[in-house]
């Protein structure tokens, strides 16, 4: 079973992948938000595993991670919350995104076993080096049917992109430009498009989702011109800030992008 592949088979264009931080805004919002996102039409969902020092993230996701940790979120709590989730959300691919250190302390094999048990489909660990993945973790990821998702940036060399494309059977995470999550694009007109077109022309095995700096309907639709879909994180976290009813806010947010 590969729910990620199924999602891309079912809908070849305009796939929406939404990221949110587990345990934010309050500890028990994880599952209600997940259900609301799926019901509202999100095609893939990334659950952020909060980390104290998220290097690839901008201030919004950092702040949500800090709050989630203060709320008591950790991997044990998260897997507890997600137990049985596949009864309620059978088909939407779920990816776990975070940083390597908490996973190492939990134990990579324990992590993979638990992730598979709750029905997660993929894992995104931006600070896991490709070589280390291949040398140490690939067998256990495969054993538990978890797909790694790797990032590609405008500076990633073509040979490395090919290698990344060979190493997974999910999607390629195209970082839209230089910067951490949630930042606005600072690139000159045309630079970003040339990069997306260059990747498109490589005719890769895996579909592509564009992330970083996508935050509303306009930027989502623009990204979808150059890839199968796009990823929204920080803008959604901002939409959850200070709301009383997080699931309702999640539904409204997805509707604002897809309507």
């Amino acid at each position: 079973m590969n729910r990620i592949k199924d999602a891309f088979d079912k809908k070849q264009k305009n796939l929406l992948n939404v990221y949110f931080t587990a345990g934010y805004p309050s500890l028990h919002d994880t599952v209600p938000i997940l259900q609301a996102l799926s019901a509202a039409g999100a095609d893939l969902i990334e659950i952020g595993m909060p980390f104290s020092d998220p290097l690839a993230d901008g201030p919004v996701i950092q702040q949500s991670s800090t709050v989630a940790l203060q709320n008591g979120m950790n991997l044990r709590v998260l897997f507890g919350q997600l137990a049985g989730i596949r009864e309620q959300v059978p088909d939407t691919p779920i990816l776990l995104m975070g940083y390597l250190n908490p996973v190492l302390q939990f134990g990579v094999e324990n992590f993979c076993r638990e992730a598979a048990a709750v029905g997660a489909d993929g894992v995104i660990l931006p600070d896991l080096p490709l070589d280390d993945y291949v040398a140490e973790y690939q067998p256990v990821f495969q054993q538990y049917n978890l797909r790694p998702v790797f990032l590609i940036t405008p500076q990633t060399a073509p040979a490395r992109i090919r290698r990344i494309d060979e190493l997974t059977d999910s999607f390629l995470y195209l970082v839209s430009g230089p910067g951490t999550t949630g930042g606005a694009s600072t690139q000159a007109e045309g630079v970003q498009e040339a990069y997306f077109q260059r990747i498109e022309a490589m005719q890769l095995r895996n579909p592509r989702l564009i992330g970083f700096g996508i935050g509303d309907k306009a930027s989502f639709q623009k990204a979808c011109q150059y890839a199968e879909g796009a990823i929204i994180g920080s803008a959604f976290i901002r939409a959850l800030e200070g709301v009383d009813d997080a699931p309702a806010a999640a539904s409204r947010f997805v509707a604002s992008i897809l309507s």
Binding site: S52, N101, V103, Q105
Partner: protein, 398 residues
């Protein structure tokens, strides 16, 4: 190639510690550096320029001073390696002079750095002024407060100082912000890391640039004691750059006892400490697998030391290996003991040390060194920047 204490493996490992755990956004930059740093460092043109600047700009070689009154007190022969006499007042400039020349050869035009006590920030701002390069220094908001003179020095030198407002607002967070800046500016920017931390090749690069300290020590010891090898080399460790430089040319000399001194803050088990070798477990921080202070969930915990240069929750991977293998002996010193060592050196030898350095001096009584033993303490920095702290704690010091 067999890895040694001096030379990590090709992928940057000292034993189980090191590596390069970085997001893809940093990969091209770090890889470029990895492929080129050894060639650039070995290039005669680079060496000529580097050595000339070390001599005429930094003021090297720094003296090795036999501290007679301190020796008398501890009943052993104590030598002080006077890195405090380097231009800018600490050893940090050895590294920044080398890295700015490296950055120029890589075609970079914009320099970023992190700083804790401000010494590395000042040393970076200094070489950027010298080379006419743009300089941005990230510094924790708390550190900006406790090391104000260095903030003003950096600004006077033309650098922009940006406050790191996340986390504990100290060195760890300044490093996070510098890394995020590098992610956002991958093409024109070189990140001058100030310690032997970060992804490979930084730990090795910085250790090599600081190794001039022990290179000089050996020559000076031969002249003054008749042997290149002392019985002890003592240095403080936050990230560990001055210790790496002081240990480097003794790493493969098993008769030399290497003593690394960490900050115990209010006490190792007080919950307010930065004694990573005792409190840390293997984990990943700033792109490197090393000993790391963290909770059971792998979240990085906030270290504490009165000294802004030592409150880092990790140590360089070389030092993690030295601790793990037993090659170096690790001691931790509390705030109070360090403050007393400040007063002691000031009054016995007329030298006011930096608070970081004072931790190394405070270890003198714990070495078990005999009257004929030669002990070299790396006097990594001068105390001017800490004057406000010393005035505040005058009761403890005097």
């Amino acid at each position: 190639m067999t890895p040694t204490y001096q030379q990590p493996t090709e992928r940057g490992y000292y034993g189980q510690f090191g590596g390069a755990f970085i997001p893809e956004m940093l990969y091209p930059n770090v890889e470029e550096l990895r492929q080129q740093y050894l060639d650039i460092l070995a290039d005669p043109g680079f060496q000529q320029e580097y050595q000339l600047l070390l001599r005429d700009y930094v003021g090297r070689p720094t003296p090795l001073f036999e501290a007679k009154r301190l020796s008398e007190k501890y009943n052993t022969r104590v030598f002080l390696k006077r890195e405090d006499l380097c231009h800018t007042g600490a050893h940090k400039v050895n590294n920044t002079v080398g890295q700015i020349l490296l950055a120029r050869r890589l075609g970079k035009t914009r320099i970023i750095a992190e700083t804790g006590a401000g010494q590395h920030g000042v040393a970076t701002a200094t070489v950027c002024a010298l080379m006419g390069m743009q300089c941005i220094v990230y510094m924790g908001e708390i550190d900006m407060e406790r090391q104000k003179p260095n903030v003003y020095r950096m600004r006077l030198l033309g650098a922009e100082v940006r406050a790191a407002m996340s986390g504990s607002r100290t060195l760890k967070d300044a490093t996070n912000e510098a890394i995020r800046d590098w992610i956002s500016n991958p093409v024109d920017t070189h990140y001058i890391i100030g310690s032997v931390v970060g992804p490979h090749p930084y730990p090795d690069l910085v250790a090599r640039l600081q190794s001039v300290i022990s290179e000089e020590m050996r020559k000076q010891l031969l002249e003054k004691t008749g042997s290149e090898l002392p019985q002890y080399v003592v240095a403080c460790v936050g990230g560990g750059s001055n210790a790496a430089g002081a240990f480097y040319h003794f790493l493969e000399e098993p008769t030399v006892q290497l003593v690394a001194v960490e900050a115990a803050g209010h006490g190792i088990h007080s919950g307010h400490s930065a004694a990573t070798s005792v409190l840390g477990k293997p984990g990943i921080i700033h792109g490197s697998r090393t000993l790391l202070m963290q909770d059971e969930d792998g979240q990085i915990t906030e270290p504490y030391s009165l000294s802004a240069g030592l409150d880092y929750p990790g140590i360089g991977p070389l030092h993690a290996f030295l601790a793990d293998s037993g090659r170096a002996h690790f001691i931790s010193i509390e705030d109070e003991e360090a403050l007393r060592a400040v007063a002691e050196l000031s009054r016995l030898e007329g030298i006011i040390p930096a608070l970081e350095t004072a931790h190394a001096l405070a270890a003198l009584g714990q070495l078990g060194a005999g009257p004929d033993d030669v002990v070299v303490v790396n006097l990594s920095g001068r105390g001017d920047k800490d004057l406000e702290t010393y005035i505040k704690y005058a009761d403890s010091i005097m």
